[in-house]
């Protein structure tokens, strides 16, 4: 049962400066199908378009980010709508109640001169205009309690909170209304592993309790391995591989994914790891054909000419590689 379908989404950063239009093809033909009650991980290099994708999915489309094509269809409470087509008010009503978003860099998500309680109040009030202060206090405390957060954070200013706590407050804020879809963009970068663990635990628990869809974006493969159900690997604005977490890690198929997984060091193993050669592509002027071909050791002539489709190669598994399309699935 899918709650969110992304169909051939193209979103570019368009800027017409100095008379020249420039397109940064941050999201370029992404199709995804997200189901209820799953954790979907999106991984990929820095600046391959992960944040941009999430922004579009959340409907946070502000110039210069522009939708070039495709659709983002939500199916929530038996209502279908395309987020690229909805008006501001519907969008506003939908947000937080149905879909919420935890922004990248949550260290600065809280207003530094406003007590956390006030921020909660603002966020609650935005969707429940007639809430009583007492009721608000009770529900907020209960919510925090459920998330295992001490109520004293409410009286704090953000700078008084440790990084992990801030991140968790951001998560708490994003889940006040128990939305159907939660989009989390790098929720743990720059946190130590212990704190990271606390944050991820929290996210997972929320997901388990409310059976909603959690999309988690990060370049930290460890996170995906541990909490995602399915993982999509992005490269240069496109999804190049998608599969269950088990498959991706045990049996990566796309050359990029392979490299990625192989390069991960492990504790207890000091053997030499190699990084992917070459530099990531410039999204303003991406290579033709398969965008990975300049760095791909297996590249064939066709790779630089045609763009491989993301096609299913087995259950729950899709890959965009000419080496691996169904016909050639045996090649590896």
């Amino acid at each position: 049962m899918s709650v969110l379908r992304i169909q051939n989404l193209q979103a570019y950063y368009q800027s017409t400066l100095y008379g020249v239009t420039r397109n940064v093809k941050a999201v370029d033909g992404v199709s995804l199908d997200l189901r209820a009650n799953e954790i979907y991980g999106i991984a990929g290099e820095s600046s391959c378009g992960k944040t941009s994708l999430i922004k579009v999915v959340f409907g946070a489309i502000k110039p210069p980010l522009t939708i070039i094509g495709g659709r983002v269809l939500y199916q929530i409470n038996d209502r279908d709508f395309d987020i690229t087509q909805t008006n501001d008010e519907t969008l506003r009503q939908m947000r937080w109640k149905q879909v919420s978003y935890i922004l990248q860099g949550s260290m600065s998500l809280l207003n530094p001169v406003r007590r956390v309680r006030k921020t909660f109040w603002d966020f609650t009030k935005a969707h429940e205009p007639v809430i009583e202060p007492e009721k608000f206090e009770a529900t907020t405390r209960e919510h925090l309690n459920r998330l295992g957060l001490p109520a004293e954070v409410l009286d704090s200013y953000p700078h008084q909170l440790s990084g992990g706590m801030k991140q968790r407050v951001a998560i708490a804020l994003a889940t006040i209304f128990q939305p159907k879809v939660i989009l989390a963009d790098e929720p743990t970068t720059a946190l130590d592993v212990v704190v990271q663990r606390g944050v991820l635990q929290l996210l997972r628990r929320i997901q388990q309790e409310t059976k909603n869809t959690l999309v988690i974006v990060t370049h930290d493969m460890g996170i995906h391995a541990n909490i995602a159900d399915r993982v999509g690997i992005m490269y240069a604005g496109r999804i190049v591989e998608e599969g269950t977490v088990k498959h991706i890690f045990s049996e990566p198929r796309h050359p990029y994914t392979k490299h990625l997984i192989q390069s991960l060091p492990k504790i207890g193993d000091k053997s030499k790891r190699q990084s992917i050669p070459g530099a990531p592509p410039n999204l303003a002027d991406p290579p033709a054909g398969c965008r990975f071909h300049p760095r791909c050791p297996y590249a064939k002539p066709i790779c630089s000419v045609q763009t491989p489709e993301l096609s299913p190669i087995q259950d729950e598994r899709r890959v965009a590689c000419f080496l691996l399309t169904k016909e050639n699935a045996h090649v590896s």
Binding site: Y13, S15, L17, Y18, V20, R22, P64, A284
Partner: protein
């Protein structure tokens, strides 16, 4: 210099506000430069029929002293601009150096500088200006007045700049430079200065405005050199001839309109420039510029 021209060209191309601003500023500067080809000496009077409203022959009319306001104002605008710009530059130099050094050095140097700075902040400017005006007995030239006003016009801005530098010096790129063995002076100038530029720019406008306002105030009170045409002395003479109530409104309206035009343009320019210089917006823009260049 090439960099400067490029910035100008970029802004001109990219931003309609800047386009307007450049056009307006160029017009005002052109206007001021026309003083060099003026057929009329600003010191002479009664060469034209007095009190003529604007017409083809006298685009800004003539005043009660029989001067053509168009040509007279070319001098007034030129002098006020020169005065304002000198004041702004001088006070910027002080403000920037004090702000950068105090903010960067910290400690006792900072404290001493801030005491000096605050002493200037608290001084009652207008009375002192009048008194200094008295002391520098020979008619104060534009340059002298600019220096005196500049001496009073930096303190607040230095404080602002300092507060910015306080955070800049903790930024990693500063440390990178320190560890590159870069001299403090060049760290301040080439690393921090560009970052405080937006502030410097907007305080420059305010300072320019304040300086010209001071000059007008002194002139209205009859305390400036009435022989030098400036926006202030234009208003002084207009007042002496009661232009406001005797219907010679263009005498006042013309200089006011020019300064309004100039400052609106400067403001728009600074808004545009600020966006250009703001690291957050600049990056995107510069990307555009550079890829254009390379293409």
């Amino acid at each position: 210099m090439r960099g400067f021209l490029r910035v100008v060209a970029d802004l001109y191309r990219s931003d309609p506000r800047c386009r307007f601003a450049f056009t307006a500023i160029s017009i005002v500067i052109m206007f001021a430069l026309m003083s060099f080809v003026s057929p009329q000496d600003p010191g002479s009077s009664y060469y034209a029929p007095p009190n003529q409203p604007p017409s083809v022959a006298h685009p800004f009319g003539t005043n009660s002293r029989g001067q053509d306001m168009f040509w007279f104002l070319t001098f007034a605008v030129r002098n006020s601009l020169v005065f304002g710009v000198i004041t702004a530059i001088l006070s910027r130099i002080i403000a920037i150096s004090i702000g950068l050094i105090a903010g960067y050095k910290g400690g006792i140097i900072d404290r001493i500088m801030m005491v000096i700075n605050d002493s200037f902040v608290v001084l009652p400017v207008l009375p002192l200006l009048i008194l200094i005006n008295f002391i520098i007995r020979e008619q104060m030239s534009i340059l002298q007045l600019a220096m005196v006003i500049a001496a009073f016009g930096w303190a607040w801005d230095a404080r602002l700049i300092r507060s910015q530098v306080l955070s800049l010096k903790e930024r990693e790129f500063t440390y990178t430079s320190v560890f590159s063995g870069t001299k403090t002076s060049s760290i301040l100038i080439s690393e921090h200065l560009p970052f405080v530029m937006p502030i410097v720019l907007s305080t420059t406008i305010n300072n320019l405005l304040w300086a010209i306002g001071m000059e007008v105030t002194l002139a209205v009170l009859g305390l400036s050199n009435i022989g030098i045409p400036t926006i202030g002395t234009t208003i002084y003479w207009a007042n002496q001839h009661q232009a406001l109530i005797s219907g010679v409104w263009w005498w006042i309206a013309a200089p006011v309109a020019i300064s309004v035009l100039l400052f609106v343009a400067l403001y728009l320019l600074v808004v545009g420039l600020g966006a250009y210089l703001d690291p957050r917006t600049r990056l995107q823009r510069m990307k555009g510029v550079l890829s254009d260049e390379r293409a």
